[in-house]
């Protein structure tokens, strides 16, 4: 499984988009070991207005990302999570690290044309560090 890590995000949202993270939160929180799109929709509808197609699209995307697996049940699919929340967070943390210390992307970054950092860029980096510090304190 490879994911694009989302900068400035915490927890599930490091690897998942907002609705993807919400759905996985529901799946893990309600211990849904096997579920249809309608099951998740029923829970989410209590919290917000959301269309069936939106949930279906997002669940399909989670399946395509390898976070859910599925099997056919008549005309519908039944989904189940591949990993527990703990396993997912463990692999996410490892991936954050791998992304930081390795990977082709990091080498490409180092291969960029040499240019001295401007004061603005240094301010941005300091703000990033400060933000992470506040996140960790929170």
């Amino acid at each position: 499984m490879t994911f694009r890590l989302r900068s400035g995000k915490k927890g599930l949202e490091i690897r998942l988009h907002d609705l993807e993270a919400t759905i996985m939160d529901v799946v893990w929180g309600k211990h849904l070991s096997s579920f249809a799109v309608g099951d998740v929709l029923a829970i989410l509808e209590k919290q917000r207005d959301i269309a069936y197609t939106t949930v279906m699209t997002t669940v399909t995307r989670l399946y395509e990302k390898g976070i859910l697996e599925r099997e056919r049940d008549g005309k519908r699919y039944l989904y189940s999570p591949k990993l527990t929340r703990e396993e997912f967070m463990e692999s996410t943390a490892r991936e954050v690290l791998d992304e930081a210390v390795g990977g082709h992307q990091a080498m490409v970054m180092l291969a960029e044309k040499v240019s001295e950092a401007s004061a603005g860029e240094l301010d941005d980096l300091e703000a990033l560090i400060q933000k992470r510090r506040e996140e960790l304190d929170a």
Partner: protein, 340 residues
């Protein structure tokens, strides 16, 4: 004229053809290593270093040794070089080795000139900072290795860096240190402790010398050398965090050291944007999860480089100097061809 043919043309051939060819081969190896996605940019740092420096140092060592080997007579090398009437055969390879040595020394002068020392201060501000550093290092067992290795300078343009080849010391600028909290300073010293442990000033100097003696091949290797140096800085960040430095204060110290005004361009690494972003990103990740020694570092650079150098020096005495003979006859044939 004929006797000077090989020493002059041979040296030119080495500088124009032999060394750039080795640089090209080293570049091929470096590209393959850097493309290896397992471990990323910190992968194979020592092997990359051996390729970067060995591509210049090893052929020069072999050629120098081969030249001196051919100049061997029962007399000393100097007698062989200057007593031309009785040692005609040994004059040309001996003079070639001398020419090569002159090229190496001449190209090294520029590099050595750039290595200016840093003035150690003993003002009140410096003494206060030294006491602060002593307090920090004594409370941290990892930084204990820096005891008596940290000195202070009042030089306004100096931030923080490691200097000294065989017994490196960490220099801390008083003005820069005043802008750091104790935690930032401790983390920054942790970064420099890895430079001290690994004799990085010596490594960096040898790398610069190796590039300087290969003026036509260095443009092939310089981007890889820059990346190696950046990766080396990131490696020191990671080692510091593994040994207990706090990642976010270290990130803060790195950004502050990169602020314009500091003359010390190697202060806690480079000012280059991409490198800074990479290192800060890495440290932000480390703040969530402590790093482990993930990447294969290969055997230590210095022992491997020493063994290779020894082999290059001894090889001509054991296996002959056929390559130098080919260079010798090639240079004379080339002159004959262009002369007629």
């Amino acid at each position: 004229m004929i006797e000077a043919t090989f020493p002059l043309l041979g040296t030119a051939f080495v500088v124009l053809i032999v060394l750039p060819t080795f640089a090209l081969l080293a570049k091929a190896g470096l590209v393959m290593l850097e493309r290896d996605e397992v471990g990323g940019p910190l992968h194979g740092l020592n092997l990359r270093y051996v390729l970067l420096t060995g591509s210049s140092v090893l052929p020069i060592a072999w050629l120098l040794s081969a030249g001196l080997h051919q100049a061997e007579t029962a007399k000393s090398a100097l007698a062989c070089l200057f007593d031309h009437d009785t040692a005609e055969l040994c004059f040309e390879p001996g003079f070639f080795a001398l020419m090569l040595a002159v090229v190496v020394v001449a190209s090294s002068i520029g590099v050595m000139r750039k290595h200016r020392g840093v003035r150690v201060s003993s003002t009140d501000a410096a003494r206060t900072l030294l006491r602060r550093v002593a307090r920090i290092t004594s409370s941290d067992p990892v930084l204990a290795s820096l005891r008596d290795r940290v000195v202070v300078t009042d030089d306004d343009g100096f931030a923080l860096g490691t200097h000294g080849l065989l017994k490196p010391r960490v220099f801390v600028g008083t003005a820069f240190a005043a802008r750091l909290s104790d935690e930032m300073l401790a983390s920054a010293l942790g970064h420099e402790a890895e430079h001290v442990r690994a004799l990085d000033p010596l490594r960096y100097l040898i790398l610069q010398l190796a590039l300087a003696v290969n003026p036509f091949g260095r443009f092939l290797l310089e981007p890889h050398a820059t990346r190696w140096q950046a990766a080396r800085e990131a490696h020191c960040d990671r080692e510091a965090v593994i040994l207990g430095a706090a990642p976010l204060p270290l990130a803060d110290a790195i950004v502050r050291a990169a602020r314009p005004g500091a003359r010390e361009v190697v202060a806690l690494g480079a000012r280059d944007t991409a490198v800074l972003k990479f290192r800060i990103g890495m440290l932000l990740a480390f703040s969530e999860r402590a790093p482990a020694r993930c990447c294969h570092q290969g055997p230590s650079a210095f022992p491997v480089a020493f063994v290779l150098l020894l082999i290059a020096l001894l090889l001509p005495h054991q296996t002959g100097t056929a390559a130098l003979d080919a260079l010798h006859t090639g240079a004379e044939h080339a002159l004959t061809y262009f002369w007629r």
